[in-house]
């Protein structure tokens, strides 16, 4: 007798398996991936009657063949880890189909009990299951259960301990598949048993059965012994030929038929129907929700509502986070003197970590929305309705959620979009989807569009934005088609899918699903992104100005200061450099204050002798009417001071521009000119695009620095718009080319890390390459088509 018991939860998708898992383990659960695959492994612990029970939640499967990754993972776990027993969650309202997996578990021989879940649903549909009779006929302990209201959970754990105490051996059940199959099974089993070459973890009859079912994983294993593998294959082929000749059926078809026959034999006795098959509530809802006309309209409305909900609900917490990180930056700036260390902490670390955490509310609400869609059963209907359209592009009905969240409606975010691809089961369709979601118009691209549209298309704003939305959809779908017919070519996966009955999601289930996925993102993405953002910061900072350049700017500053201080009218106000610094500080706080009244009560200003000068300069700057009593001398001093300020700002901007040019990013930007010249991009655009790899909105601020107009707030970029409009090298065509290039060129690196998390470094790398090439080609076509049409001459 062991103090520690390991149980595995098996069951069909939608059998309420996660509800059972949550009911047993509560919040004490962990999530990981099975080694080498992206299938989630959930496990948790519970103590019951003094026994420590570890519960492993196997992926939901309909069967134990090698059809899907989930099935392979589930059966490998059973065979290799040998849990003390399996609890098979069986949906009582859908007994026949659910018992198909139970039969296979019995054949595998693992000690098991059946948790007969959803007894209430069955009853409401007029289905009465005699669980004692079922237990007798199936020769497995059966515990009736309603997991949603926790009925039967305790009894189930009691039974777990009772069975585990007896330390049951593995006992593969023998089910008859008719004389012909049974004979072949005996034959293959004998061959396998005679060989010593194989580990004996898989029961030999079960392996024989898998051979006849054409299970590739088992066949490949047996082929390791060449002589043996061949003999088994011969038997399989002979059986197959015989079955096709005499019954016109493949062996696996006969086997499936017999299994269902065996199940029907049991349910005929143990299950009573009060009423014949009739439309249940779920079917009635489907008559509306999947109606040919109303269905798609409602779907658009629901998807749009989810989108609005996700983004509006996360707005406030995101702002709180932003304020918090701004506050943190202010604190750091006030403690650490200006220089590389402050810059590293503020721009490298806080911005990097803030970038990751800033997405958290968005991801949380998106996962909540997805959890509601999944748990209620609506997700399957969306896939059902859209399958015909998306199939043509090599995608799956479920891909639509990821595309919308990523920016299918402008302003989304590719990070939750990439993570939403988890709902796709086929790896090819899943990877294709996550490769194309970065083409959608996410929220970070919008400031770039807004700035360029503001500069060159201010009259057609709405039309251009709509065009860009259409373009991104068109491009994403087209790219999917290209990927699916080249690198990820392969058969369309069958769309044999269950439409699960509609169910009201439980709050607990929603919260657990949302939290575990969100936490997973924070933990894994955080570390890598921190490192990458430091690297990118370094690229945009070092090596920076040369000694001569530094000296030049220093000298220029000294010269400007001297020329200001030597002017006689100014001297009266500010005799030396020290008082100039005081004036600068006071002027800054004066202009920063939202109203003049407020400004005057600022400490130090009220009784400062400099106040009249500051006021005059401020009014002059704003071009407002001056107070009459101002003397012309003071006016001149104020004007000179303003000129000085402008000069200093200009110097600062030029310095930043020069410094940016002499960084690694700047170097790359200049080297890239040979490549980007056909697109009409110079080194300044290139540097901005390199910076945009961190986050697309950085394109705007970096472009501002590169055009030496100071740091540009992405939200208020009109000064940059004006600057570009006046620049002769810019024209609407160049702006549009840059817009499209920004839309397509690379996923930002938070997205990239998410792509890696959901696939591999290989695919993340592919994503960069593919998107760059795509962006280049499309931008090239647009530019040359535009020039051919006579556009772009400004």
């Amino acid at each position: 007798m062991k103090e520690k018991i390991t149980i595995a939860l098996a069951g069909n998708p939608n059998s309420g398996k996660s509800t059972v898992f949550n009911a047993i383990t509560g919040a004490r659960q962990h999530i990981a991936n099975y080694p080498g695959v992206t299938v989630e492994k959930k496990y948790g612990n519970v103590t019951h009657k003094g026994y420590g029970i570890e519960v492993v939640d196997l992926p939901g499967t309909y069967s134990l063949t090698a059809y899907s990754l989930e099935e392979i993972v589930a059966r490998d776990f059973l065979v290799n880890e040998k849990p003390d027993l399996v609890v098979d969650i069986v949906d009582a309202s859908n007994l026949d189909r659910n018992l198909y997996l139970a039969v296979q578990l019995k054949e595998l021989g693992v000690p098991m009990i059946i948790a007969l879940n959803m007894m209430d649903v069955a009853e409401s549909r007029g289905i009465i299951v005699d669980h004692q009779l079922l237990s007798t006929l199936f020769q497995v302990p059966v515990v009736p259960m309603v997991a949603r209201s926790k009925q039967g959970i305790r009894e189930c754990l009691d039974k777990v301990i009772e069975v585990a105490k007896n330390g049951q051996e593995w006992l593969p059940a023998v089910i008859s598949y008719g004389n012909d199959i049974d004979q072949s099974l005996d034959e293959i089993e004998a061959i396998i048993k005679r060989s010593q070459a194989f580990n004996t973890r898989y029961p030999s009859r079960w392996r024989a059965l898998k051979c006849l079912e054409g299970d590739r994983q088992i066949l490949d294993l047996l082929k390791r012994d060449p002589g043996l593998g061949q003999r088994i294959e011969e038997v399989c082929q002979a059986t197959s030929k015989h079955m096709v000749d005499t019954f016109d059926e493949e062996p696996e078809s006969v086997i499936a038929g017999h299994r269902y026959g065996y199940i029907a034999g049991i349910t005929r006795k143990a299950l009573k129907r009060k009423v014949e098959l009739r439309l249940n509530l779920s079917d009635k809802i489907d008559k509306v929700l999947t109606n040919r006309i109303i269905g798609p309209l409602l779907m658009i409305a629901i998807l749009y509502a989810i989108y609005v909900f996700t983004f509006s609900a996360s707005e406030a917490p995101i702002q709180v986070l932003e304020v918090f990180f701004e506050f943190l930056k202010d604190i750091v700036s006030s403690i650490i003197p200006a220089g590389n260390l402050r810059s590293l902490i503020v721009s490298g670390i806080i911005d990097g970590v803030g970038g990751v955490l800033g997405f958290v509310p968005l991801i949380m609400f998106m996962f909540l929305a997805i959890a509601i869609m999944e748990d209620s059963g609506y997700m399957a209907r969306v896939a059902y309705m859209l399958d015909r359209v998306l199939r043509w592009f090599g995608l799956h009905g479920n891909s639509v959620m990821a595309l919308i969240v990523s920016g299918g409606i402008s302003g989304g975010c590719a990070v939750p979009g990439v993570m939403a691809t988890r709902t796709l089961r086929d790896p090819r369709e899943r990877i294709t989807t996550l490769l194309v979601v970065p083409f959608m118009n996410c929220g970070a691209k919008l400031p770039v569009y807004a700035m360029l549209i503001g500069a060159f298309f201010s009259k057609d704003k709405a039309r251009i934005m709509f065009l860009l939305t259409l373009f991104s959809w068109g491009f994403a779908l087209l790219a999917a088609k290209i990927i699916r017919s080249t690198v990820l070519r392969g058969p369309k996966t069958p769309f044999v899918m269950e439409l699960p009955p509609y169910r009201m999601p439980t709050l607990k289930g929603l919260l657990i699903h949302t939290w575990e996925r969100t936490w997973y993102y924070i933990r894994k993405a955080g570390t890598v992104i921190l490192g990458l953002s430091i690297i990118l910061w370094a690229m945009m900072t070092f090596p920076g100005l040369s000694k001569e350049q530094e000296r030049f700017f220093e000298n220029e500053r000294i010269r400007a200061t001297k020329s200001l201080l030597t002017s006689p009218k100014v001297k009266e106000w500010i005799p030396d450099g020290e008082s100039l610094m005081e004036l600068n500080g006071l002027y800054d706080s004066y202009t920063r204050a939202s109203s003049k009244e407020e400004a005057e009560v600022l400490t130090g200003l009220e009784d400062s002798p400099l106040l009249p000068l500051i006021k005059t300069a401020f009014l002059l700057k704003k071009g407002e009417e001056l107070e009459k009593e101002i003397q012309s001398d003071d006016l001149e001093a104020a004007a000179r001071y303003l000129l000085f300020r402008d000069e200093m700002t200009g110097l600062g901007d030029r310095e930043r521009q020069a410094a940016l040019k002499r960084t690694i990013a700047g170097w790359i930007g200049q080297r890239l000119e040979t490549v980007t010249r056909p697109l009409g991009f110079d080194y300044r655009v290139n540097i901005a695009l390199v910076g945009g790899f961190a986050a697309k909105e950085v394109v705007v601020s970096t472009l501002g620095t590169a055009y030496s107009i100071g740091e540009v707030d992405p939200e208020r970029s009109s000064s940059l718009s004006q600057r570009l409009r006046k620049d002769p090298s810019w024209n609407p065509l160049k702006a549009f080319t840059l817009i499209i290039f920004t839309m397509l060129y690379v996923p930002c690196f938070v997205t990239l890390i998410s792509i890696r998390k959901e696939s591999s470094w290989g695919w993340a790398g592919f994503s960069i390459g593919f998107n760059l090439v795509a962006a280049f080609l499309v931008a090239l076509i647009i530019r040359h088509a535009g020039m051919a049409l006579g556009l772009g001459t400004s």
């Binding site: 198909y100 078809s253 038929g257 098959l277 399958d387 015909r388 069958p494 269950e498």
Partner: protein, 83 residues
């Protein structure tokens, strides 16, 4: 009168009994695992907006599959009454 037709030829809400499933490979295995085996009664529940995939009521649940996947499934149905 009974007659045998392909599942994809069935109309909405029509009932029938599966007589033969000739799909092979992964596809065939999947279809059978989900319960589409001979002698199982089914009813067409509806079709998606673009008439494909089709939703089928089988045993106690609803299954969707594409028309081309439903092609290899032969179903015995009541022949329509001659007018």
């Amino acid at each position: 009168m009974k007659m045998i037709i392909k599942m994809r030829e069935m109309s909405d809400n029509q009932k029938g009994v599966i007589r033969k499933v000739s799909a092979s490979g992964d596809m065939g295995r999947r279809i059978r695992e989900m319960g589409l085996v001979p002698n199982t009664p089914i009813q067409i529940q509806g079709r998606a907006p673009l008439k494909d995939p089709v939703a089928v009521k089988i045993m106690d649940f609803t299954l969707t599959l594409r028309n081309n996947e439903a092609g290899g499934i032969l179903v015995e149905v009541e022949a329509p009454e001659p007018q």
